[in-house]
């Protein structure tokens, strides 16, 4: 039995059909990553529409309804279509390789989790062509506004159900894989940090996503079946939606950043040629961030009218998150301290992550101050804040991970020069794009508005130029990946000389089947060692 499997080790169905029926974690990881890239460009196109309209005050290109559709869809596509699937793709590729497992625990469920996504997003994107247009009430879907959505409404709800189902199955698969499929030599406290952060993220997913599914179901029944969950006249309460939504929404923020923490904790030790500083504290910091994320949700809604005690509680608990996050930042800096650093492209992304994510974290602490938040609420300052953590945080983390592991996936080195050009263009333009939005927000420019007062023109133009530049820079990335697949020079098994971990013990490209037998761990083969 085993022999015949081994004999057909690299046999796979030919052509496109292979990708539909595949249960191989590497294939599915590739599918997730390509899907995320496609969605990144679709969501990015929407943001280009937004930045074009905001280049000048007044209404130039879009009517306000379409503008609001763009902001709403941009957020939904980027969060659920680009960032989350990209991290699940990384998890699919890397977790079995990093823990010495032959595949994910449930390969067929894995296939299903991925293939729900194209259906979910076809449904969501088809709403752009419907009477009444796509959802335009903001990705947070606050009632009563969202209940005014046209024909798109049930499509929005059901596509969120599908995305939720997909991430839940993915999360369950990841937890089971990590807890049950590790090579016997690897106790939990020796797992690579990327695996640790994904384990915590997966638990966040199964705790938070079902609440989102529940709350959008309530919206659905409010609209079609006469319930009054959020209808004040029927005894419900629209503010309750915000409470339940953000009970999901805040953990969601960490779902999108914790795996990036794991990526950075993998890349920095490699190129600093030092073991990660404070491995155990990194694990505990990740877990405490995850716990705290469930008791801070109302900081998104300081202005709805809460008693003073609640405002204070949510302010302090939010600020508390800065402590474990600070532990991580200092650990990364300490890892680099006196290391023999080199600055290959993955390292550049990781260092810029540390710097720029910290900027986003600091503006987060500013927003956590309740009295100040009354001023910042719903301004561009908030937009600047969450783009610093999501773009220069999560997305830069994903880019770093792709450059770091691309040689392992394709077997070929990417073009270092082009990779660096991609990095420098991205980092310059993204700061040009988002930094001025801090000024706009502090000066009082509201978010989700297609028009603005003329005194905001200059910084909006700077921001738009940054936006166009950032958007175009991503085309370089597509070329780099394409070039690496087709024409790059051959990569050795251990691509980076400072890299540790089981994934580097298999040849590049990683064979279709790896670790059919649990590998033995050699000394110094894990990140956690030497700490």
């Amino acid at each position: 039995m085993t022999d015949s499997i081994q004999a057909h080790a690299d046999e796979k169905p030919a052509g496109l059909w292979r990708w539909v029926v595949t249960t191989n974690h590497k294939d599915i990881g590739t599918l997730y990553l390509l899907f995320a890239l496609l969605m990144f460009f679709i969501g990015g196109t929407m943001s280009m529409v937004i930045r074009t309209e905001l280049f000048q005050p007044g209404l130039q290109f879009t009517d306000p309804l379409f503008f609001n559709q763009m902001t709403t869809m941009h957020a939904l596509v980027m969060i659920f279509g680009a960032v989350m699937p990209a991290f699940v793709g990384l998890a699919n590729w890397q977790i079995p390789l990093m823990i010495g497992a032959p595949d994910m625990a449930f390969p067929r469920m894995n296939n299903w989790s991925f293939w729900l996504l194209p259906f979910a997003f076809s449904m969501l994107l088809s709403t752009l062509f419907m009477p009444g247009g796509a959802p335009a009430g903001g990705w947070t879907m606050y009632p009563p506004l969202v209940l005014m959505t046209g024909d798109a409404f049930p499509y929005l709800i059901f596509s969120i159900h599908l995305m939720g189902l997909s991430s839940l199955m993915g999360a369950i698969n990841i937890i089971v894989t990590i807890l049950n499929m590790r090579t016997p030599d690897m106790p939990l406290m020796k797992m690579p940090l990327f695996v640790w952060t994904w384990l915590v993220t997966a638990f966040l997913l199964i705790a938070a996503m079902p609440v989102l599914a529940g709350v959008v179901t309530m919206l659905l029944t409010d609209r079609y079946f006469g319930s009054s969950f959020f209808n004040a006249a029927g005894g419900g309460d629209p503010v309750m939606f915000q409470h339940i939504f953000w009970f999901f929404g805040h953990p969601e923020v960490y779902i999108m950043i914790l795996p990036a923490f794991g990526v950075v904790s993998t890349i920095i030790p490699t190129f600093a040629r030092k073991p990660l500083f404070g491995y155990a504290s990194m694990v505990y910091a990740t877990a405490s961030i995850a716990f705290l994320s469930f008791i801070v949700w109302a900081h998104h809604m300081f202005t709805v009218g809460m008693p003073l005690v609640a405002e204070l509680f949510f302010m302090y608990s939010t600020m508390l998150i800065a402590i474990p996050t600070g532990v991580k930042i200092f650990n990364w800096v300490s890892t680099m301290w006196r290391g023999s650093m080199t600055f290959e492209t993955p390292m550049l992304w990781a260092i810029s992550f540390v710097v720029l994510f910290t900027i986003g974290g600091l503006s987060g602490v500013m927003l956590a101050i309740t009295p100040a938040d009354f001023q910042y609420q719903d301004t561009y300052f908030v937009v600047a804040h969450f783009h610093y953590v999501l773009v220069t945080g999560s997305v830069f983390g994903i880019f770093g991970a792709v450059y770091y592991w691309l040689p392992k996936w394709t077997g070929n080195m990417y073009n270092e020069r082009l990779g660096k050009i991609h990095f420098w263009c991205s980092v310059v333009f993204s700061n040009l794009l988002y930094f001025p939005q801090h000024f706009l927000g502090l000066a009082g420019m509201p978010r989700r508005i297609p028009d603005y007062a003329i005194q905001f023109t200059d910084w909006n133009q700077v921001s738009s130029i940054g936006g166009f530049g950032f958007g175009l820079s991503q085309l370089i990335f597509v070329y780099v990946v394409f070039h690496a697949i087709r024409a790059g020079r051959k990569a050795p098994a251990r691509v980076w000389d400072g890299a540790v971990g089981l994934e580097w013990s298999v040849p590049s490209p990683a064979p279709y089947h790896t670790f059919q037998e649990p590998p033995k761990l050699a000394d110094g083969q894990l990140q956690s060692e030497g700490v």
Binding site: V176, A207, V211, G214, M218, A232, D237, M306
Partner: protein
């Protein structure tokens, strides 16, 4: 052999995790009553008690005046007319007052309505004692009937000192016969 035991343990863990998922889905819905209970206990969000308050005779606080505003909204499908007879009243805490709301069913069939109250600011919700209110039960109106509906209330002496104005808002909505209003 080893593979099948692994499959078993995997499946067991997956079923447990799926159980957690379902529990969290249920928890999302459980947040709704929990939220109501929380608001009822704390009186947050202007959710006042929709029943006759037991009021012990208390001394009138002659030194203090509070403005009470009366508001009405209609969220009913029909064309109900629904207004308070006065929009504002200066009251002294501890004293009993009577006002009324006028409702008119302009249609040619009998209809039932229900008024849901909300008090602002939320911190005052626990200090408006209603001795009689049309909001306590459904109100049935014959075709074209109009009538005055009473509200007898007293503002509690213990109303926080920073509250100078209390708004009592009633939202009217249709109630089908035999059905009680949601949230009642």
């Amino acid at each position: 052999m080893k593979n099948s035991t692994r499959q078993q343990t995997n499946r067991k863990l997956a079923v447990r995790l799926a159980g957690v998922t379902l529990a969290m889905f249920a928890f999302g819905f459980a947040l709704v009553p929990l939220y109501d209970v929380f608001c009822d206990i704390t009186g947050l969000n202007g959710k006042d008690v929709n029943r006759i308050s037991a009021v012990e005779p208390v001394a009138v606080d002659g030194s203090r005046w509070v403005t009470v505003e009366f508001l009405s909204n209609s969220n009913a499908a029909g064309s109900w007319e629904f207004h308070p007879s006065i929009s504002k009243l200066r009251v002294q805490p501890g004293k009993l007052y009577s006002v009324s709301y006028r409702a008119h069913n302009p249609t040619n069939r009998s209809m039932t309505m229900r008024a849901v109250s909300s008090i602002a600011p939320g911190t005052a919700a626990g200090y408006v004692n209603k001795l009689e209110c049309f909001c306590f039960r459904q109100q049935r109106f014959a075709a074209n009937e109009q009538r005055l509906m009473p509200l007898r209330f007293m503002v509690d002496n213990r109303l926080p000192p920073e509250v100078g104005t209390v708004s009592i808002a009633y939202t009217l909505f249709d109630s089908l016969d035999g059905e009680s209003a949601p949230g009642s």
